[in-house]
């Protein structure tokens, strides 16, 4: 099979960052536990292609999360996450087509970080879809260059279809209330306003504390902190759990609002976005926490730096979403003459 050429006309960012696509990445998709269909898909993918590694990768706004995997070693097997910009699977999402790399070394189409650090040489990934959106890739990887034929891609596509069908079954309409549930009121909108303010107040010291800019003095002290397992990382883990619960409550509350109050669904979407960002941050913090527990050795410090920077970007994204939620809530309250 020939090399897949990525058209410069494809708007990569708008595809990868499509809010509708990203909103699909929630709930059971992001759980860590085993799933018989996902697990079978990666096991069969590895077996049928004779490749040592197979992944079901979900490509999120900052990271790719391996929902199922076989063959990963070391820290990657535990954290199951890498930066999106280092991923090969992003190209499957961008193009919506199989993406093939027969020898990644020096291949200008692909980022070289995973090539250098994890000896990725051959890669074949096919789209995994939820509805009309490519949420990730079912892929196989080898550490030596490989010829990847059409039959191998067909095997992967067949397995990916099984994953697609399973996704349709397990992913519920996102955070929508079942019929007959209680309907939210203006008091709920006022509650969302107060909670968004509180979230912003909590995120302010966090944003100030995460590493600023590129590698430098502060970043190095953070790496020391992570590698030495000091309490900052454990505090971050604890904080993440608290904020995740907080945002789930926000989203549940927003989901009850009737269209009379949330006509364009902005409050619901923004509250859901906070949950999604928290899920993504969880994947990154897992990587930091694994580092602090000594699972990741010093040679992988570059990945730790990237994780910290991703974490910072996610905090900023969460701040932006909380600000939007606050503005939307204030606008609804103002429209209904409730300004205090």
């Amino acid at each position: 099979m020939g090399m897949e050429v990525i058209s410069p006309l494809v708007d990569a960012s708008s595809t990868l960052d499509s809010p509708v696509r990203l909103a699909c990445l929630a709930g059971p998709l992001l759980e860590l536990g085993p799933d018989p269909v996902f697990d079978r898909a990666v096991e069969e993918a590895a077996r049928r292609t004779q490749m040592p590694v197979a992944l079901l990768s979900l490509v999120m706004s900052h990271v790719q999360f391996f929902r199922a995997q076989v063959g990963l070693q070391g820290g990657l097997a535990q954290t199951r996450v890498t930066s999106r910009e280092d991923s090969f699977c992003q190209f499957v999402v961008i193009t919506g087509k199989p993406f093939i790399v027969e020898n990644a070394l020096g291949d200008s189409r692909v980022p070289q970080l995973l090539v250098e650090h994890h000896s990725v040489r051959a890669y074949a990934g096919v789209p995994v879809n939820l509805g009309d959106h490519v949420v990730g890739s079912l892929c196989v990887i080898d550490t030596v260059p490989r010829r990847i034929g059409d039959s191998m891609v067909r095997e992967l596509v067949a397995l990916a279809r099984e994953v697609d069908l399973h996704l349709e079954q397990i992913v519920p309409p996102i955070l929508r209330p079942p019929p007959g549930e209680r309907r939210g009121t203006l008091d709920d909108v006022a509650h969302l306003r107060d909670r968004a303010e509180l979230l912003l107040a909590a995120l302010a010291p966090v944003a100030a504390q995460l590493p600023q800019g590129g590698p430098g003095g502060y970043l190095e002290s953070w790496i020391d902190s992570v590698v030495s397992g000091d309490s900052a990382v454990l505090e971050l883990v604890a904080l993440h759990g608290q904020i995740a619960d907080f945002c789930h409550e926000l989203a549940a509350r927003a989901s009850t609002l009737p269209t009379a109050l949330d006509a364009d669904g902005a409050l619901r979407d923004q509250a859901s976005a906070t949950v999604r960002l928290l899920a993504e941050a969880g994947a990154v913090i897992r990587l930091l926490n694994a580092g602090s527990s000594g699972v990741i050795d010093g040679a992988e410090v570059e990945r730790m730096i990237n994780a910290m920077l991703e974490c910072q970007q996610l905090v900023f994204a969460l701040q932006r979403e909380a600000e939007r939620l606050l503005r939307s809530a204030l606008a609804v309250l103002a429209r209904h003459g409730r300004l205090t």
Partner: protein, 71 residues
């Protein structure tokens, strides 16, 4: 007592510096449901003070008791 809530927050900030301290302050805000920006030295609200003290105790418990798998 007037100024008590302000005093609690200021003491918490003094005792919790650095990276861990910033995250702990964020935990305090979420745990208590109280925005420190709204707490002035003039504030006198016993209920709020009690909520704040309770939250300080909660976040002062070592996070190591939480499992790493909780993320």
């Amino acid at each position: 007592m007037k100024g008590r809530a302000h005093q609690i927050i200021e003491q918490f900030r003094r005792e919790n510096g650095g990276g861990a301290g910033a995250f702990r302050l964020a935990r305090l805000i979420i745990e208590s449901g109280i925005n420190p920006n709204h707490i002035t030295p003039e504030l006198d609200d016993q209920g709020l003070e009690e909520r704040l003290e309770q939250a300080v105790r909660a976040v002062s418990v070592s996070p190591q008791s939480r499992t790493r798998a909780s993320v």
